[in-house]
Subunit: 88 residues, 2 copies
């Protein structure tokens, strides 16, 4: 299944009240076959990507939700950043 | 289907020769309901994200493949960055 589950998980949460909301979703998936070690750079990369996004969009930190998950079975580390935005 | 297709598309391409290769995949999906206009910032955001990744990983421009797609039916713009990495 891999990182597909991150999207299906979110899709099921979207109700009619949220339908009109703008949303930015950033997924960073690192496949590292042959190693079970999570890349150490991912949390820092996450912060830098959010800083870059802030140059282009007006977002506050409370609108940003981040999650770092390891899929041990597939040697994949997945960083998920969800940003809810005020309607432009 | 949404952006699920981007992942399934790549999965089907992975053969035995590529199995051991490290891969970084970055997906930026912007849902903008009520507007069919592609966010103008996405191509610039793409370049800045790649510059950030270069701080942490040794990659060359030829290893980076980018694709910007509009899903008109769901008012979603999807930026996909695929980076093949030398085995660490």
């Amino acid at each position: 299944m891999g990182i597909l589950s991150f999207f299906t998980k979110n899709k099921t949460k979207v109700g009619s009240a949220q339908t009109a909301k703008e949303r930015l979703q950033i997924i960073v998936a690192h496949e590292h076959p042959g190693s079970t070690v999570t890349p150490a750079y991912l949390p820092e990369l996450q912060n830098e990507i959010i800083e870059v996004v802030k140059k282009y969009l007006t977002i506050s930190d409370r609108d940003v939700k981040c999650e770092l998950t390891d899929k041990v079975d597939s040697n994949m580390s997945v960083l998920e950043v969800n940003i809810a935005m005020p309607k432009s």
